[in-house]
């Protein structure tokens, strides 16, 4: 799935059919009134925003339902094994656990919208500030990985596409296959063994607060190994996607025309060809940011990075459901928001999207 040149070129599938258009000029539609470019864009954005809100409601319901169905009684967890039946009944009434599930969901969702995600059972603190602190660390890690993966992957893919069959093409293929086959938690351990234990160049663990405990240099030193580990899968995918999209684009007539007009190879590839690979890259950017936020759980566990994934693993193991609920909801909501932003970006990089919608 991930290693396939064609399969990852999802952007090609998502691309709507091309229609002739001119900036600022309303295109005649088949039926109904004609809309200006700004109208179309507004309608498109509104439609996507409403869909995202609906998805978000669905996501929150799934999160609530999954943990509602989990074995174990929250009242028992809170009061401990020595609680009497009447104490349990009272607490269940007090927490609203005796109400119908849909009512419980409504109350929970209503509070969640106002920023109240409950209190962590283990930490005995409100969930939201804890999530915010941890999420900051995860964002730093995911951002570091993104900065490493995308430029490197794009460069490798472009070099491979412009020199098919060459050693660099072979290298990009090996990097992609190895990148998607190596489990991140193993790569992380190998990097710790190599660069931390054996060479002593970089710290393997020891980040205690999200923003770094010893300033920017300390943060950077702690960030390098986890970010490299987390960047491998996106790097592999981006390099293969760039290669396959670029090969498709290079075969187009307009690229031949650009060459025939005497444009330099750098301009043909770097400007004319690369711009048309952007839709596919935006697709994969959206998907990979989601992977980086959730997939960071393994890397955070290996490097004891104080992020949201590491926190959630501990919360699941200790059955701290308010923390799990909050964490899943936050990441899923971020993922939905990223998908929404990706759709907006399509409209920016590909004018055909705005016009079709």
């Amino acid at each position: 799935m991930l290693g396939s040149d064609d399969a990852v070129a999802a952007g090609a599938i998502l691309r709507p059919p091309a229609r002739a258009c001119q900036d600022g000029v309303a295109l005649p539609s088949r039926a109904g009134p004609s809309y200006t470019r700004a109208d179309r864009m507004r309608r498109y954005l509104t439609h996507r925003l409403l869909s995202a809100l609906l998805v978000l409601v669905g996501v929150s319901f799934v999160v609530f339902l999954a943990l509602h169905m989990a074995p174990g009684d929250p009242a028992q967890v809170l009061l401990g094994p020595m609680a009497t039946p009447s104490e349990l009944t009272n607490l269940r009434t007090q927490l609203g656990l005796d109400r119908p599930m849909i009512v419980q969901y409504g109350r929970w969702a209503g509070r969640a919208v106002q920023g109240d995600l409950g209190r962590s059972i283990m930490l005995r603190r409100p969930v939201l500030p804890e999530l915010a602190r941890r999420f900051q660390a995860t964002l730093i890690l995911a951002g570091g990985a993104l900065v490493l993966a995308f430029p490197t992957g794009i460069l490798l893919g472009m070099l491979a596409a412009t020199r098919p069959g060459s050693p660099i093409d072979g290298l990009s293929r090996v990097v992609a296959m190895v990148g998607i086959s190596m489990p991140a938690f193993w790569v992380g351990l190998l990097l710790i063994i190599g660069f931390s234990v054996k060479l002593g160049w970089l710290p393997g663990t020891g980040m205690y607060s999200p923003a770094g405990d010893g300033g920017a240099r300390d943060l950077l030193a702690h960030l390098i190994l986890p970010a490299v580990t987390l960047s491998l899968v996106p790097l592999a995918i981006v390099s293969r996607l760039t290669r396959s999209s670029m090969l498709d684009v290079i075969a187009q007539d307009y690229v031949r025309t650009a060459r025939a007009k005497g444009a330099s190879e750098t301009r043909v590839i770097g400007w004319h060809a690369f711009r048309n690979t952007l839709v596919a890259l935006v697709t994969v950017l959206g998907l990979q940011v989601g992977y980086l936020l959730a997939g960071a759980v393994y890397v955070e566990t290996v490097f004891a990075w104080p992020g949201i994934g590491f926190m959630m693993v501990n919360a699941i193991l200790t059955r701290d459901f308010p923390l799990v609920q909050g964490g899943v909801l936050l990441i899923a909501a971020t993922y939905v928001a990223i998908n929404l932003a990706t759709d907006f970006l399509y409209a920016v990089v590909d004018p055909r999207v705005r016009h079709v919608h």
């Binding site: 070129a9 998805v55 996501v59 938690f185 193993w186 498709d248 699941i316 799990v324 899923a332």
Partner: protein, 287 residues
């Protein structure tokens, strides 16, 4: 797609990758076959009991007497645990893939063929599942079901159902409009027969390719859940759990963590190479 790039350069562009792909497929077949045979023969092989502890021989390095790959922190033989762990990984990977494939194919077939309200509802459900990053959804399911190998397997299977459903549904939507389906209907075939005899064979190839590529993902994901403590539980000889155990000793005995990780990497690489090769073999554009 890309083979139309430039007719003059096509032969050199195509022949080298084809050779490489065939080599890759052969390597993939070899790796998967060796691992499967060794895993199947584990009880018959002259190996130590994977759960027998020997505190006096703890953290023995590789190539030690009696411990070809060394021993772990409880003195258990790593070679034996890696071989038995292969059984767990393969069984979990294959079963989870089969579960996801069967459920996803059934839903995709029915929704794609019949359409209507069922299709609409199922697709909204799939959209909802896909709104979660899949690792997160697997963790959520494990949180709901409770940590354990079977639950982890079910979780990674459920998460992957949506990929099969989408792929199968898209293929069925194309196939159901074909003339041979219309012809079958005209001669009086029932809907069930059309699905079984005409549609299903048409999507078998792509499903097979996806299955072969998906097994590697399933193995990595289930090992990952075990690594973070949500999958297999000690003392099960599972590669993810072994890696997690070995993590505590990387400063004194790095091999305890490195060897099970290497085993996961080799098996997943084999599955991915095999899947790539199968896709190429079944896709006429890539021949």
């Amino acid at each position: 797609m890309s083979t139309e790039a430039s007719p003059s350069s096509a032969p050199t562009v195509r022949s080298a990758p084809v050779r490489r792909r065939r080599r890759g497929r052969a390597v993939g077949v070899l790796i998967v076959t060796v691992v499967a045979v060794v895993a199947a023969l584990a009880p018959a092989l002259p190996l130590a009991d994977p759960n027998r502890t020997q505190p006096s021989r703890r953290l023995a390095p590789p190539l030690s007497p009696d411990h070809a790959l060394g021993s772990d922190h409880l003195g258990r033989d790593l070679l034996s645990r890696v071989v038995w762990g292969a059984r767990v990984s393969l069984v979990v990977g294959v079963l989870a893939t089969l579960l996801a494939m069967l459920a996803g194919t059934a839903i995709g077939l029915v929704t794609g063929f019949y359409g209507g309200l069922t299709d609409n509802l199922a697709m909204r459900g799939i959209d909802l599942i896909m709104a979660f990053p899949y690792i997160l959804l697997a963790m959520l399911l494990v949180a709901a079901l409770g940590p354990g190998l079977v639950n982890a397997m079910v979780a990674v299977a459920v998460v992957n159902v949506s990929f099969y459903t989408r792929g199968v549904r898209a293929a069925v939507l194309l196939l159901r409009e074909q003339e041979f389906v219309e012809a079958a209907r005209a001669v009086g075939s029932t809907e069930g027969r059309i699905l079984r005899r005409h549609i299903l064979p048409g999507i078998a190839g792509p499903i097979l390719v996806f299955v072969s590529m998906n097994i590697g993902v399933m193995i990595t994901e289930s090992a990952g859940l075990s690594f973070i403590g949500l999958g297999a539980q000690p003392p099960t000889a599972d590669w993810g759990t072994m890696l997690a155990d070995g993590r505590q000793f990387i400063t004194v005995a790095a091999h305890v963590a490195a060897i099970p990780g290497l085993a996961i990497f080799v098996l997943v690489l084999g599955c991915n190479l095999l899947g790539d090769g199968l896709r190429d073999a079944l896709d006429p554009r890539l021949r």
